[in-house]
Symmetry: C2
């Protein structure tokens, strides 16, 4: 006799990325999968030094339970940083520390979603956001995007014709998976629509600090007059992901609800990780560190784009991100990226097929390339082989 599981379990499936990542643990695989930061840039020595300070000076506190909200000096830093960079007006009580920004998405599902509620998202969108929300039994409506972001008249049309829309989930800067960045106008417009239709927005921003060129834009939250917009952020891409420290920020009455929900979910985040980051930020210049990351990733983006131009068939389309970790490839419509992945894995090249980034549609002719995790020679080698695999696949299917 089998146990009875929750209904949601019938539509929770393995994350394709996490499964591919297991393959890529073999050292000889060249991986464009995952969203892994470059490990050679982790400030290991600095972390080692700070860790020792934290343990020596505040050891009993660092290893003990703390409050659900998180370590106050870290929350203060985050509020300050967001105010400077994103045009918000937060203080520490607007910030809840989460277990990576992924937990911000899970908690958002718990705070907002009942079974059958609708989540609107960009098409395509971050695949683990789909899993996070789906666990609460929601449906998705995908809103198309163009070069300026989500297409606002479609969004408004959908908002006006559907009740039960609870959340609009967006990644307006260096989007995952497309690398696209929303224009200022679209940001303002989304804030306005969120207020008019009284729908919460989750503005996910894990990559915003990694801008290679062009001008920084204010957050959608900075145009929020109704208090409907929540922002998630993370230290994973500007510091290191192993600590699993991110945050969710928003108006205090809503953040208070998130705190209650987090209490029952896992009590609090890792204490020593929070204190180590806070001490690091006090002793070191994070902007200098981010500068190094940006320099390296920019080179890698450049070489990736150049190799795609050089080695991929002319019939494909791709995005040119101004920052972040990803570019997005569209193959001719009849081509399946999943089938190309099978071929490329035989040659030890991995990437993530695009199908999983669409919660309702199935655009199997797309895939995502991550360029942050490997040195330039391996990027070139890998994309050259991948280009050959694609060309061969296309020529055979003609």
């Amino acid at each position: 006799m089998k146990l009875n599981f929750a209904k949601r379990m019938s539509h929770i499936k393995a994350s394709e990325i996490r499964e591919i990542l297991k393959v890529t643990e073999q050292e000889d695989v060249i991986s464009f999968a995952g969203g892994l930061p470059a490990p050679e840039l982790f400030p290991i020595d600095e972390i080692n030094q700070i860790n020792q300070i934290v343990l020596k000076e505040m050891g009993t506190k660092a290893l003990q339970y703390t409050t659900t909200e998180g370590y106050p000096p870290l929350r203060e830093w985050i509020a300050q940083r967001m105010n400077e960079r994103l045009g918000t007006t937060f203080d520490k009580d607007n910030i809840l520390i989460t277990h990576g920004s992924q937990q911000g998405l899970d908690l958002s599902g718990k705070v907002f979603l009942d079974e059958g509620d609708i989540v609107l998202c960009e098409s395509p969108t971050y695949l683990a956001a789909i899993s996070a929300f789906k666990a609460y039994g929601c449906r998705f409506i995908e809103i198309p995007t163009d070069e300026e972001g989500m297409v606002m008249n479609v969004l408004e049309d959908v908002l006006s014709r559907n009740s039960h829309i609870k959340l609009i989930y967006v990644i307006p800067t260096f989007q995952n998976p497309t690398g696209k960045t929303w224009s200022l106008e679209r940001r303002k417009k989304l804030a306005e629509l969120s207020s008019r239709y009284n729908v919460a927005v989750i503005e996910d921003n894990p990559y915003g600090e990694l801008r290679f060129e062009g001008e920084s834009l204010p957050s959608i939250k900075s145009f929020d007059t109704a208090g409907n917009i929540l922002c998630t952020g993370s230290f994973s891409k500007i510091f290191c992901p192993g600590f699993r420290i991110g945050w969710i920020a928003g108006d205090k009455d809503i953040i208070r609800k998130y705190v209650l929900v987090k209490q029952g979910t896992d009590l609090q985040c890792n204490t020593i990780a929070q204190m180590t980051i806070a001490e690091y930020l006090k002793h070191y210049d994070i902007d200098k560190h981010i500068g190094k990351i940006v320099e390296v990733y920019k080179k890698r983006r450049d070489i990736a784009i150049e190799c795609i131009r050089r080695y991929f068939p002319e019939t494909i389309k791709f995005t040119h991100p101004e920052g972040g970790l990803f570019t997005w490839i569209e193959l001719p419509e009849e081509i399946s990226a999943r089938e190309i992945l099978e071929k490329s894995l035989e040659k030890k090249i991995a990437f993530v097929p695009g199908g999983s980034f669409f919660p309702t549609e199935n655009k199997e002719n797309t895939f995502r390339i991550n360029y942050s995790n490997m040195p330039e020679d391996r990027i070139e080698k890998g994309l050259k082989i991948l280009g050959e695999v694609i060309k061969e696949y296309i020529s055979q299917s003609e």
Copy 2:
């Protein structure tokens, strides 16, 4: 206009403990609230040393993403330990690392519970388990306990008369909040009933390693023939809670479902914390460390029990735990522990009133005493004052 939140938000409330803990952050408060381990026993120097080894020898790995399942050497150690101590037959693939054992409860809710499902639990039970499961819209039926654990004929009666029972949640060793330990017979019987009625059991065991006297008992899982029983565990009470590392263990097909659910929830646990614990276990003798904790807590239990006998009115009842962190007080029926808390907080003494440990009933004449977090002189001082507060309250209400 207010945003629309999920229905569950209307019955999620602040954890009384977490709120009281905020009061107890003032240094002059003597706190019997919380389940805080003694910070002076944290192996700070050892952790500092191990952290440096991990960062120097495996830094890039320790700060990077890892698999959702968790760090394999740590999972192997846990499986081995459970097999030795609890009579299980696990290997590493039976183990998922979780963000404290609290996350094991949250994930159990996600894996098993649909709205309206029933969870059976001991009366009283761990209050943050109530919050964790309640977030999935379940109802509770409390099963009474006596000195040997849950009363099995009541449990069987409830099982036979209710469909929609999805989980039985129990803490059979040094229970929170009562400190009670189930007998061998009750353990066997629960495994048998779980199989006969095809209901999953969550066997929560955060305190089992902290036995002061008496003989260790095998886990309920060790009598599980149907594969229905899941075990949670934690490093919080035998190592330190600040790392937030716990686990859930069970049959592989069920643990696989937990892994899928954890992927969407928060991707994975803190990498460096997992590696630090695994390295600590390789370089140091955890049994010696646990021995130290047991020695200290036993003394504290002894002094707490002695003080309760000496200073509390004779009309109260209390438990005599053989291990763990808590004893449980029953006042005469008409007395409200919440009202006593108000009085005792004026005298800077904190504890957790028992009402919150009952998901459906309201036994307000009970409270929980934690004795692990303070030195003996403060335990004596605090319980003496608390005894006076209780006596005064009782005499005034007569």
